[in-house]
Point group: C2
Chain length 458, copies 2
C-alpha cells in the first residue's frame, strides 16, 4: 500500500469524540456570550495583507501565512528584478492575501467597514480558527480556534464587570474552579512613573512574581541587577510586599500611588470593577470563583491600556486559560479613531486539556447514537425501518447497521461508537412482532412488543 497521506505540521484532524468535546466547549461559551447580549459574527479566513501587515510587530508579519496570487503571480518580473528583490518583498509582490492571525484585527477592520450598520456599543463574539506560521510544539498549533468576545464603542467599566461575570459563568458551567486575576495597565504605568523607570515595568513585575519562590532579598537583588536604582527599589517595597484582601491591596496602592494621576485612575477603575462584582469583601457575592488583584499580571502590555484579566485553573497545572483587557483606539489603525474596546478570549485548546484531565465532560456530550438496529437480512431490516423512523421521530439518534454481516461485527461497531442500546430482531422476534433490546452497559436484554421500543431506551 502507498505511504499514508498526512497533514501539514502543526495542524490537526478532529475525530468524532474530539469534535463532540470541542462542540461542548464552544457551545457552552456561545450560550453564555449570547446570555450576555453578545452577537456572533464571522469574517473570512483570508484578509488582504494590507489589513494584516504591521499589526503584530515585525515577528508577527513573518508568522502570517501568505496566499499566492492566482494565475500569473510573477506578473512579468524579469530575472534581474527577481535577483534584486528581497525574499520579503518578493512575498509581498506574489501575495495580496493572508490567513487571519487573530480575531481582533479582523474585528477592528469589520467595525470600520460596517460602521454605518452597527448600533454602538457593539457587543460581538467570534469563534473561528486562526493561523500562525509558528514553530509547532506541544500545545502550540499552526491552526487553532479563538473564542473572543469584545465590546467596542463604550468606555463604561460595566463592560469589564460583565466580562468577569461571563468568565465566572462559563467556568461554573464547565465545573472548573478558577482564579480570575485582574490588574490595570494604568496601575503599572503609575508604578513606573512613581519610581521614574517607565521602561522597567516588565522587569519589575517579573521580579515581584518570584517573591514566594525566592524571597524578598533575592527579589530586591534582581531589581538592582536589572538597573533599578536603590531609591526606586526602596519605594517599591510596599508593592513587592503587597498582600491581604483586594480591599487592603487597593488601600495600600492608593497610598503608594497618590502622586501619580494615572496610577490613581488605575486603582479607582479596579476598585469600581471589584466593588460591582462584590469582590471587595472576602467572599465575592456575584461570582462563584475568586477574583484577585494581581499586580504581577502584565500580559499584552503593548496594546492593553486599562484593565487586564487572566484566568488560572485551580486544579490543573497549566498556563492561563482565558485572558483579556481593555484597549483604547481599537479601530484607529483603520482610520476610525476614538473607539475604545474591551474583550476576553477563551483558550479552547487548554480548556479541552483541563476538562480532559478533570474528566468533566458530561456523558451526553460525547455519546451520539442511542440505539443500533442489528441487520439480519432484508426481511428483518424491512421490519426494523418503520421502528427506526419512530425512534428518530421521538428525537432519539438511532441507526440500522446497513450491511447484513456477522452479528459479532455489528456488535463491535456498536461498542466502538459507544452506542448504549442495541435492538435485535431475528426470525422469532419478527414472527411475534417483538424487539429484543440489549442494554450494552449492563448486558441486560428486554423482549418487548415492537411498539413499546421507546420505553426501553428512554
Amino acid at each position: 500500500m502507498a505511504q499514508k497521506p498526512g497533514i501539514p505540521k502543526g495542524t490537526r484532524d478532529f475525530s468524532p469524540v474530539e469534535m463532540a468535546k470541542r462542540n461542548y466547549i464552544f457551545n457552552t461559551i456561545k450560550d453564555v456570550y449570547a446570555l450576555y447580549g453578545f452577537q456572533q459574527i464571522e469574517t473570512p479566513a483570508m484578509e488582504n495583507l494590507s489589513t494584516l501587515m504591521g499589526k503584530y510587530g515585525e515577528e508577527g508579519d513573518k508568522l502570517l501565512f501568505k496566499i499566492l496570487n492566482s494565475g500569473d503571480f510573477m506578473h512579468g518580473m524579469t530575472a534581474d528584478e527577481v535577483a534584486s528583490t528581497s525574499t520579503l518583498k518578493l512575498a509581498a509582490k506574489f501575495c495580496e492575501k493572508g490567513l487571519r492571525y487573530d480575531l481582533t484585527v479582523p474585528f477592528a477592520r469589520y467595525v470600520v467597514q460596517h460602521r454605518e450598520e452597527l448600533a454602538l456599543p457593539f457587543k460581538r463574539y467570534q469563534i473561528q480558527p486562526v493561523w500562525r506560521a509558528d514553530r509547532p510544539q506541544k500545545g502550540r498549533y499552526r491552526e487553532f480556534y479563538q473564542c473572543d468576545a469584545d465590546v467596542v464603542g463604550s468606555e463604561s467599566l460595566l463592560n469589564e464587570v460583565e466580562l468577569m461575570q461571563i468568565v465566572d459563568t462559563v467556568f461554573t458551567r464547565f465545573g472548573v474552579r478558577v482564579c480570575i486575576k485582574i490588574n490595570n495597565r494604568k496601575i503599572l504605568t503609575g508604578i513606573a512613573e512613581m519610581i521614574g523607570q517607565a521602561d522597567k515595568i516588565v522587569d519589575i513585575t517579573v521580579a515581584i512574581d518570584k517573591l514566594d519562590k525566592i524571597g524578598l532579598d533575592a527579589v530586591n537583588a534582581e531589581l538592582a541587577e536589572s538597573g533599578i536604582p536603590a531609591e526606586a527599589i526602596e519605594k517599591l517595597q510596599p508593592i513587592i510586599k503587597l498582600s491581604g484582601t483586594n480591599a487592603e491591596k487597593l488601600q495600600t496602592m492608593k497610598e503608594v500611588l497618590k502622586d501619580s494621576e494615572i496610577g490613581v485612575k488605575g486603582v479607582e477603575e479596579t476598585e469600581f470593577i471589584l466593588s460591582k462584582l462584590g469582590a471587595l469583601s472576602a467572599d465575592a457575592q456575584m461570582l462563584n470563583n475568586a477574583i484577585e488583584l494581581d499586580l504581577t499580571l502584565a500580559r499584552g502590555l503593548n496594546y492593553y491600556t486599562g484593565a487586564i484579566f487572566e484566568v488560572k485553573a485551580l486544579d490543573v497545572q497549566i498556563g492561563s486559560i482565558t485572558g483579556g483587557g481593555r484597549y483604547d483606539n481599537l479601530t484607529g489603525i483603520f482610520g476610525l479613531p476614538g473607539l475604545s474596546g474591551v474583550g476576553i478570549s477563551f483558550g479552547a485548546d487548554r480548556i479541552f486539556d483541563v476538562l480532559n484531565q478533570l474528566d468533566l465532560y458530561p456523558k451526553g456530550a460525547v455519546n451520539a447514537t442511542q440505539l443500533l438496529f442489528v441487520n439480519f437480512g432484508e426481511k428483518e431490516a424491512d421490519y426494523c425501518l418503520p421502528l427506526l423512523a419512530k425512534v428518530r421521530a421521538a428525537g432519539i439518534a438511532a441507526e440500522i447497521y446497513p450491511d447484513t454481516v456477522k452479528m459479532k461485527k455489528q456488535m463491535s461497531y456498536a461498542n466502538a461508537k459507544q452506542i448504549p442500546y442495541v435492538a435485535i430482531v431475528g426470525e422469532s422476534e419478527l414472527a411475534e412482532g417483538k424487539v429484543n433490546v440489549k442494554n450494552m452497559t449492563t448486558g441486560e436484554q428486554m423482549l418487548v412488543e415492537a411498539e413499546r421500543i421507546l420505553e426501553c431506551i428512554q
Copy 2:
C-alpha cells in the same frame, strides 16, 4: 478619514443577523445528521498540495489557493532559474500547502490516515468552509461552507435510503417543499451501452431535458446534430418519452435496458431505494416530499458510479439546493482501494436564499437579547445589576446599556438589536422597589415589583 478597509473579492463578512440565520441552517442540518447516527469531524483548512493536486482535474488545480512556504520560500533558486521556470512549476516550488477545495478529498485522506481507529462503516458529517479561486459572481464565492455527510465502507443501498430520508427531514424542518430527484449512473451507462454511444451520454441527457420546452422533434434533431446515428435515436425514443409514476418508469427502463447488465443493475438499485422509501406508489409513505426518478439528472458523472441525487425547491426559482451520490473507490487515490462511499451535500448559501425569499426563519432564530435595562446612572445601575443577574440565571439573554447616555440613544440601541423588552428604572421606580417593563412591539408598559420582572417577559 482613511479609505475604508475591505476584504478579498469573493469573500464575505457575516453580520449578527446573517450569522443567526446561518446557524439556524447549520444547526438544523447537524441535528438531523446526528439523528441518523452521523458523527462530526473537522480537518485542517490547509492540506498538503500533494493531497489536493490532481484530484479536481486540470481546471481544479488552477483554482486551488496555494500558501507560500514560510521563510526563504525561494530556497536558493537563482534568478535565472526562476526566470526559466513556468509559473505553474514555480508555484509548486514556492508552495507546499493549499486551502481545501472541498470536503470530499480531505475526508478520503482522513479515512486512509486514521483507518486503524475507524469502525467501518464510518458515517461522518463535516461542516466547514472551502476555498476556490473561481471568478466571483452572483451566488458564487471564493470562500463558502459545505455541509457534507458521507458513509464510507458500506455498499448497502440502505445508506442511499437513509440519505434521502435525511434530505426529506431537513427540508421538512425548514418548511421548504422540495422535489428529490434520483437517477443512477449505471442506468446512464446502460443507455449509452445499448445505443453504442458511450461518450454521448451527456449530450443525450441534455437533449432529453429539453423535451418539455422544445418538443420531441427538436430533441431528436438535436441528438442527430450531436452525431448520434438514426438507429440509436430510434432506440432512445422510449427513454425520451419516459413518463408516468416512478414504478411505470422503472418498468419501461427494465424493458429497454434488458440487454445491458449494468443498466439492469442500475434499475434494480433504483427500485430498491424507491421501494424502501415507499416511493413506488403515488404517495411516498416514509417521506413528506416527492421523490422522482429523473433520467436527465447527470451531475458528477466523472466520479459518481451508482445513485445520483439532486434536490430542487418547489416554490423558489433557484438551482439545485442539495446533491450527492455514490462513488466507488473513494480512498483508492490514497492507496486504500475497495472502499465505497455515498454522500450528500447541502448547499447552505442557496438554502439561505430560499429561506429568505420564503421568509421561513423562525423568529427566535434571529432575535437574541430579550431584555435591555436602561442605564440612568450609577445608582440606578446598581439597583438593576442583581435583577439582570436574576434574569440571566433564568436563561434569558439580557443586557444593561453600559453607558449613562440619553434615553433616546438607548432606545434606538434596543430597536437596532430588535430587543423585545426594555426595563426602565428611574428615581421613582427605584424608590418604590419597582421596574417599568416596556414591550417594544406593542408599546405597552407594565410597572411591577422588581422581583416580578421575570413574569413580564416570559
